[in-house]
Amino acid sequence: MSQHRDLVHGELDDVSERVALDALNNRWALAAPSDFTSDVDVLNFALTLEYLEATFYEQGNARNLLTGQAKQYLTQVQKDEETHVQAITQTIQKLGGTPVAKPMVNFDGAFASKTMYLTTSFTFENEGVGAYLGAAGYIKNKNVLQAAAGIFGVEARHAAIVANLLNKPGENGVYMGAFETPKTKAQVLAAVKPFLVSQMTTMPGGNGSPNTGGGSTAGTQDSGLLTAGSAALLGGAGLAAYLATHRSTDADTAD
């Protein structure tokens, strides 16, 4: 590496690889250690966000606020989010987990105008990007990780295109810097909380197939995600079942 001394100015020699890697890890250790206890846990968090997004676009696109290319783009975004809901639901089931129920939502105000709609979309998409990145470190199954990374990238595409529809600046608008920024679960939940009326505590007892149609906000149970905090995102019995078959060394905090 000596030929690169002009770049590192010799400082590297003062830092062992292990220290450097630990420090590099700390750089990304934004999520609290107890944020997620399993892949299913991460996936159910993601599923809540995807439900929120899918329902948001189903309702928003139904308002006919958009025309032309904006309409076309957000129609595609809606389909992507619906696909994510389905894919994550199926993945949780494959892992032996129980998908969380679709949250009840309230987007009042978000559809007051085209600008409000797109601005709220911009928030959701960027929160999604940060959420996936912040949670990625908790995922142990490589296939789950691949899927999450693939979804993460698409959320970043959405964020950029919606920002452009809003004519936001290139930097700090369409792009949010040279590196995406991870967000903790608490940060993401704080950002989306205004739109979550509740999350049903009753886990789907049957096949758990998602209802991604219609943009329904029906439902009255006011408990779960908000009132019970992050506990509602835990997969309950499904988590235990998952751990029984996918035992990993550091997932022993769940019982």
């Binding site: 590496m1 690169h4 770049l7 590192v8 100015h9 400082e11 590297l12 003062d14 830092v15 062992s16 690889e17 292990r18 220290v19 450097a20 890697l21 420090a23 590099l24 700390n26 750089r27 990304w28 783009y73 595609q76 975004v77 992507d80 696909t83 994510h84 894919a87 990007v129 990145l133 990625a136 470190g137 490589k142 296939n143 990780l145 691949q146 990374a149 693939g150 979804i151 993460f152 990238g153 698409v154 970043a156 595409r157 964020a159 950029a160 295109i161 452009n164 600046p169 290139g170 930097e171 700090n172 369409v174 792009y175 949010m176 810097g177 040279a178 590196f179 995406e180 920024t181 991870p182």
Partner: protein
């Protein structure tokens, strides 16, 4: 063309936003990279020089050097293309930051290689077909190929990277490449959302795609 020629001896890493600069410094600083190349750099050194034995990093070094080659390609492509003055208005506003991002990626990936006690690959000799920069359309058409290739390249290594630190670092970059890809697709009247989940490509197919540009 060296970065010195491109930037007239100015510091070669500049950031559009203060938060970018700080984020980069945090990363670079943590893994022991110098600051002389960073505008206005102020860095807290890593005081703790542990003596632990190097951990095995498996194939991460190879993956990082692969990423470094792609980032070199992208950065130099945008540096050359933007220097031609082909773009105007919103196109220019949307493409200019990409150059800075790719440059930051080059430096970051290089720093990661060095942190793993590896040797960063040298900047490849690059050759672009004569028509690449003959018009805004050609420039953007090539850009969209590079960005989609870059996205699939990072996605293709997700399951191969062993170090969580390297994985997260790569992910922070991959998301930005996805943004680039979407915007370039928009600018070239393509589809910004070609798939609900990003596609991934193995190293071999990515290298085959970019080989024509590597001298």
């Amino acid at each position: 063309m060296s970065t010195d020629e491109l930037f007239n001896g100015e510091p070669v890493i500049t950031f559009q936003r203060e938060t970018d600069r700080r984020a980069f410094l945090r990363w670079a600083g943590l893994i022991g990279m110098g600051t002389a190349l960073v505008t206005g750099g102020a860095l807290n050194g890593m005081g703790d020089a542990g003596a632990a034995a190097p951990a095995s990093t498996g194939g991460d070094l190879g993956i990082l050097n692969y990423a470094l080659t792609l980032e070199y390609l992208e950065f130099n492509f945008y540096a050359m293309g933007l220097s031609k003055g082909l773009l105007k208005g919103r196109d220019l506003e949307l493409v200019t930051p990409i150059r800075g991002h790719e440059q930051a990626h080059v430096q970051a990936v290089m720093a990661a290689v060095t942190a793993l006690k590896g040797t960063p690959v040298s900047k490849p000799t690059l050759k672009f077909p004569p028509k690449t920069f003959s018009s805004a359309d050609n420039f953007l058409a090539t850009a969209t190929i590079f960005e989609e290739t870059g996205v699939s390249a990072y996605q293709g290594q997700v399951t191969h990277i062993k170090s969580p630190a390297v994985l997260k670092a790569a992910a922070t970059i991959a998301g930005v490449e996805s943004r680039h890809a979407a915007i370039l697709a928009h600018l070239t009247h393509g589809n910004p959302f070609p798939s609900p989940v990003e596609k991934n490509a193995p190293m071999s197919s990515v290298l085959a795609k970019v080989k024509p540009y590597l001298g």
